[in-house]
Symmetry: D2
Subunit: 351 residues, 4 copies
Amino acid sequence: MPSTSMQAIMKPAPAPGAELRQVPVPEIGPRDVLIRVRAASICGTDLHIYSWDRWAQRRLRPPLVFGHEFCGHVERIGDEVQGLKPGEFVSAEMHVSCGLCYQCRTGQSHICQYVRIIGIDADGCFAEFVKIPATNVWKIDPAIPVEYAAILDPLGNAVHTVLAGDIAGMSVAITGAGPIGLFSIAIAKACGGGPVFVTEPHPYRQKLAVKMGADHVIDPTSTDAVAEVLSHTSGTGVDVVLEMSGHPDALRQGFQMLRRGGRISLLGIPAKPLEIDLANDVIFKGAIVQGINGRRVFDTWYKMQALLKSGALKLDPLITDRMPLADFDRGIQMLLSGDASKILLYPNGSA
Amino acid sequence: MPSTSMQAIMKPAPAPGAELRQVPVPEIGPRDVLIRVRAASICGTDLHIYSWDRWAQRRLRPPLVFGHEFCGHVERIGDEVQGLKPGEFVSAEMHVSCGLCYQCRTGQSHICQYVRIIGIDADGCFAEFVKIPATNVWKIDPAIPVEYAAILDPLGNAVHTVLAGDIAGMSVAITGAGPIGLFSIAIAKACGGGPVFVTEPHPYRQKLAVKMGADHVIDPTSTDAVAEVLSHTSGTGVDVVLEMSGHPDALRQGFQMLRRGGRISLLGIPAKPLEIDLANDVIFKGAIVQGINGRRVFDTWYKMQALLKSGALKLDPLITDRMPLADFDRGIQMLLSGDASKILLYPNGSA
Amino acid sequence: MPSTSMQAIMKPAPAPGAELRQVPVPEIGPRDVLIRVRAASICGTDLHIYSWDRWAQRRLRPPLVFGHEFCGHVERIGDEVQGLKPGEFVSAEMHVSCGLCYQCRTGQSHICQYVRIIGIDADGCFAEFVKIPATNVWKIDPAIPVEYAAILDPLGNAVHTVLAGDIAGMSVAITGAGPIGLFSIAIAKACGGGPVFVTEPHPYRQKLAVKMGADHVIDPTSTDAVAEVLSHTSGTGVDVVLEMSGHPDALRQGFQMLRRGGRISLLGIPAKPLEIDLANDVIFKGAIVQGINGRRVFDTWYKMQALLKSGALKLDPLITDRMPLADFDRGIQMLLSGDASKILLYPNGSA
Amino acid sequence: MPSTSMQAIMKPAPAPGAELRQVPVPEIGPRDVLIRVRAASICGTDLHIYSWDRWAQRRLRPPLVFGHEFCGHVERIGDEVQGLKPGEFVSAEMHVSCGLCYQCRTGQSHICQYVRIIGIDADGCFAEFVKIPATNVWKIDPAIPVEYAAILDPLGNAVHTVLAGDIAGMSVAITGAGPIGLFSIAIAKACGGGPVFVTEPHPYRQKLAVKMGADHVIDPTSTDAVAEVLSHTSGTGVDVVLEMSGHPDALRQGFQMLRRGGRISLLGIPAKPLEIDLANDVIFKGAIVQGINGRRVFDTWYKMQALLKSGALKLDPLITDRMPLADFDRGIQMLLSGDASKILLYPNGSA
């Protein structure tokens, strides 16, 4: 007989921190699926939730189980669920779209006007079990390793960003080597992009950028990053900029190192409005600036699966630590120190 | 025997103003064409040159004949020119590209790294004759009226902007009803766009916007333009924003009235860098922001020609005045007052 | 109390013809909507079903109520239906997609691998009532006339075809002036396309093509259609060909009148495989050939709605007859004779 | 003092075969460049010329020096040539476009209406020297090996074909493993495509396909190629088909193994018109069929250069033989036997 309670990492009240608690296993409706979490991964967003910053204060309504990157096995399916059965190895798109707005009805549900995110707006995956609407569940190809399966959510952000325009045979600058920036290096290279320039001030991340295949890693605090990129591109600038930091300096440098007619895709979230020289950096340049949000559902997932199955993506260097769910606090501290990249949590034992 | 001198509007020295002078008729090289100007038109850029603002001070090297919008008849061709003969009715792409840079060699010569603009970097068309490289000359279809032929350059800016993405069956907001904004109304409607919202504070231009076919003309100084557009689009926002003013408020409103996943094309030039809320207005929105510069050579010209030949574009309301070249100063003053749109100058008599 | 039986046009058995019968009103499930049909329209596909040709024999499983073009009012909704209520004026996308295949999960449900079509694979709209899954229902904007609302399905085919690539400022050839070809004339013109050439042998349809705005109507049985189109396009050929006939000669002519690098979109269904000169007509030409199927769900519907609301589409000349549902046989005969275009049926009285 | 005559492989008269002759070194005009050929490569087209088949009889006007794949050093430049100087290592785009037609004026010069091909319509590169218009010359990055530099022309065909649509994260079928098909395997893999299926009946080429990285090599004479591809793609079919054979069976299989909504790019030239089931293989499928011709000038060249510089393309297995120019006949015989892929000729000694 299945247990009715489970361990979960909770934000119990509107304040900093989080707690390991015993909570009821979620009850599922007729079109939901209950998934036994095999491995979960900590996202930068989880740090915001933990730290209870201004964004978190405005968005979250505790109590909440958080976490939104994971893989696991189907435990139970609702009465009306088709195409899934207990035991299957799955992950999930955690953006739950409304299905009724303009975007949802035109194949752009990743930017649904009324999106709700599991792990932010509803109980998430830092727990033994998580409840997911069946249409959001993604079956994982058996060729894909468990550790990669746990990080499909952020890897999907990176795939979506890199492939939001042409990349093969193109020079690329990535500003910021957090996990998604690091993933993007590997993806850009695997998709024929290059040379790949990476700007990143943190030495630990610089090293990871090299491991992921970056051709030039630039410390923008000690080098003129724009001049460096221009000098390697005959003064023309790069074809593609992937902005992964949200940092004002990186953004400005990104715009300046972009060639005329190039594409700059923005994924990093600036903390507040910032000054842009639209005349010189966008208009005269004929630049294309793309806001990137989430992942295309499920277009990005299919492409990500194909890239993973081909063996083209070597992501192991980024999975820097593994620990039981109960050690969550330690994982958070490691990430806050900057000396870790992706950390996996195991709510049901055995890393 | 052809005359060797001609009348021209000159900026004789680095200072405000301009003068009507007698100057030599340009000598042409083996791949140039000499064109007898039939009609020229005053651009907003010419006002900057006349007023000698900061941009003009940095860019221009007087003495210079300015003016870059015109039509005329081929007077003489260089020895190596093919496909053109004296008497033909023509206009010209005034952006002279280098032919050697990355952009020129990949079909993007409109954003050439070393572009020179006739009328800004070389003597222009406010004169009886103008010299143009043969490959920049555009033959005008006989079905197109002379008055329209004189304004193909700014009309091309508008066609390039409107058609820089999908427009048919899409809602459109145009921020700013200067000449290019006004052209864009007609083009958007002729290409199946609509409803078309226009934001414009100046009453004279508001009236012209209505004449050009705008569905909703909004005075942003008295109405909440963003709220107005949202209320007419079920709260979703418009599919396309065409920014034609360069004004900080218009830009911010443009971003806010854009729907998630929509396109905002920027043609208006902001006077200086300005604050943008990239997180909310671009990234979470999944917006596409395009910098627009010049016109595609000659892709835009072919499309413009087809639109004009079909009779779909009624531009007469925008040609508000006609005068001899010698009355140039009067034309400038009318434009500076805001109570005119396109003014035609006739250097060789007979308006 | 609602009636439990209704009038419907049925194919009772696998044989030519159809009958008006009294049948039960459809029972709806929790996610279905029952719609009281206001007006329905006869499609060419219905002629195949009536005539019981080879395609119909292979595809249909009588008994079946057929018909798939209609508008009506919501009569009743299932328990789980959101966003719809009784009385609302609606039409519907009749292609019911599986929701689980690659195409459905990537925003291409219009080419679902397991699509079922209401009126072909399930009971359709030639009846007083029709049952539709709620997610397929489309609310009709009150600005759209009832008669147009009844023909959104085929109009959507035309919108999808015309807008499957650039059309503004482009020359267009439409081969075949059946209803969808005729719709396409109006759409292409409303979206800035032109000149529009139409090839059509039948005099009645030639006249309608002129009424819809065609610039050149060519009878390919008496004129060399390819030579005619080339002579009007400086020998270059047209930018876009929309193939609406499925006829081998029209197809071959369409390929030959296309310019190098142009687009040919195929909607008409050839009765059998046919010979194509791929080397000269596709490969050396750098042509883009598109197969067109159905309508994008609901991207095409939104664009169609905007085009109709703007008043840009004048479709009245195509609605050539109106009659009670019971006169169905007469309508079929008129269409078979070729002297009608769209015929509306009124199952609940009052044309 | 430079020599005035040189060795060249000629087609002296309209008949099968070719001869090594002493001919004058080409004289260059003011915008031409004379290039000393370092290495040339034999194309399938050269076999047609040698064999004097029907296509060759219609197209060529002997006497002619043929050959159009090569690299070399600038020997001399015309008076008006900019941006090139003697000694530079170069190759060239051998399609000389007119510069005046619609395609040339809209960035599509690779499908110029009046294209002339050096080595087919004018004397080519199977000689010590070849004359090329300066605007067609392409400087070779020093990081690229000489042997690769000699085959940029056919490699460009392959790059153009593979990158004519999305490829990253997509399954690919390549029908035909001649040199361009084999190049395409490497390019598709380097650009994130996969799995890559190759159909090819010839054992020698099957082996090369494996060396180039094909995931599945299928002999269509012994295996049901369509069934095989469907079985590996869950019955959905491949995202992309690259048709490289021109063979009727391969073409039909290509269409059948393509998924709904997929892209099929046609480069192989069928010898004559052939039957296509447009209804099932294109229209109902919503397929996109692209005719591919030449290479984009110079968009494809830039991308190819970037792919080569990154080291992503390993082409050595395809360069199966090297020989002096004088041994041309032996090279031709090897290619006709099918047991060679790319053969390099050295007109100025030292392979």
